[in-house]
Amino acid sequence: MPTAWLVWAALTDHLGANPAETLQLQTGRWALRLLLVTLAITPLRRLTGWNDAVRFRRMLGLFAFYYATLHFLIYLVLDQYFDWRAIVKDIAKRPFITMGFTALMLLVPLALTSTKGWIRRLGRRWQTLHRLIYVSAVCAVIHFIWKVKVVIGEPVLYAGILTVLLGFRVIWWLRRRTVRRVARPVRPSNLPVH
């Protein structure tokens, strides 16, 4: 796991001249990658019919949350050293921090309701709630794009992947709507009579 690599690199002095930045970048990168992999599960199932893939989805989502949390803790401790006032100011004032913080906050209810008990208790609403991951992932990608000085390479790649993954959902949704309309065609007799 990336965590093991980071711990090993930290212990053996392989994090470079700016170890805090390396930790910050790597945890953020893995949080975003894992979010994207989580979002890839459903398209993968539908395209390949490999339904077992869904068994990994919760674990992947929780790992994304884990790295996002580490990412934030590094900011909290190494960047700001528990200066709460500075943090609040930072979140309010710097758009890329606002975006990153929003992305993390949106994941919190998802992580909390990831247990079997909560899935049962929430029923249908669970699925609706967990669609927040779409918003979170969009925020995370924008956070990355706004963070970098020059928008090339990785952030563009992730934005592209996310667009494709969300694009599947949009296409399916549109198709479902069309199918529904075909199934219940509007007949002239249904029209109000004047």
Binding site: D13, N18, Q80
Partner: protein, 331 residues
Amino acid sequence: MLIRNAPDVRSSEVTDERQYLRRREFIRLAGGAVAAAATGGLLGACGGSGVDAAVSPAASTAASGDQSPLQIAQHVVTTDEKLNTFEQITNYNNFYEFGSDKSDPARYAGQLHTSPWTVKIDGHCARPADYHVEDLIKPFELEERIYRHRCVEAWSMVIPWVGIPLASVLRRAEPTSKATFVEFTTLLRPSEMPGQRDPILNWPYTEGLRMDEAMHPLAILAVGIYGKTLLNQNGAPIRLVVPWKYGFKSIKSIVRIRFVDRMPHTAWSDQNPSWYGFYSNVNPDVSPVRWDQSRERRLPGLFATRKTLIFNGYGDQVASMYAGMDLRKNY
């Protein structure tokens, strides 16, 4: 970070202890030089006095390596903080001509040929000329300058540069009264600078200083670090160092120095004017939207808790140049 294969230069070779002990004298005198200049004295003459305060009689030569050792005539120490290691300074670089990752310059800069190297000096001056970089440097004594280096990304290092005062080079070209700014240009050679194949910045990289900033005794043209010639990733064979400004002002691998009569375009400011201003003086009170500049991380430290100093701690020497200017507007 502990470096096992530390550079083969002992700190006693880098910094003469006597000069080290006299560093505050230098700071005071350099400040005086600027004050004198501000009150009508000739900056050129005064600049010399600030530097002379730290003249070391014994020239020292650093040990050999891949790079050539340099004959250093004097040492100027502006801080008693711990130096960053050679490995840190040469492996963590922003030099987008070689890629936007900090490790890209160390990885790709080796392919750049820096010899022969010509520096064109032109524009509003009486003696424009093309110099081989060796000839540009030759008339002047090399000085070691230990400076704090503050990146706009809120990290900082302490670096033992070797170079010559920029003012010496500029004065030799005899700038005319029309010369109000100096524009610097980096080499454009996409075949050896892979980053230039992407439209990251408006290549070639350009930077600029106001004339008084350029003539300031703290501004140097560096040709080495740790007593040896610069590695390519640090801007070989010749680069600017302006320690009271964010690092991106200190343009690398210079091929042209031009005296101009208006504020020149600068690479980062063109790319994003709200993030990077022309002056870009280190200022903890002015944080353009992207960064919080009030604190910094002194590498390789983990915590970004060091308070950033106005003008990177060189306010005594340089603040008078900006008297009466709104530094929030002219960031």
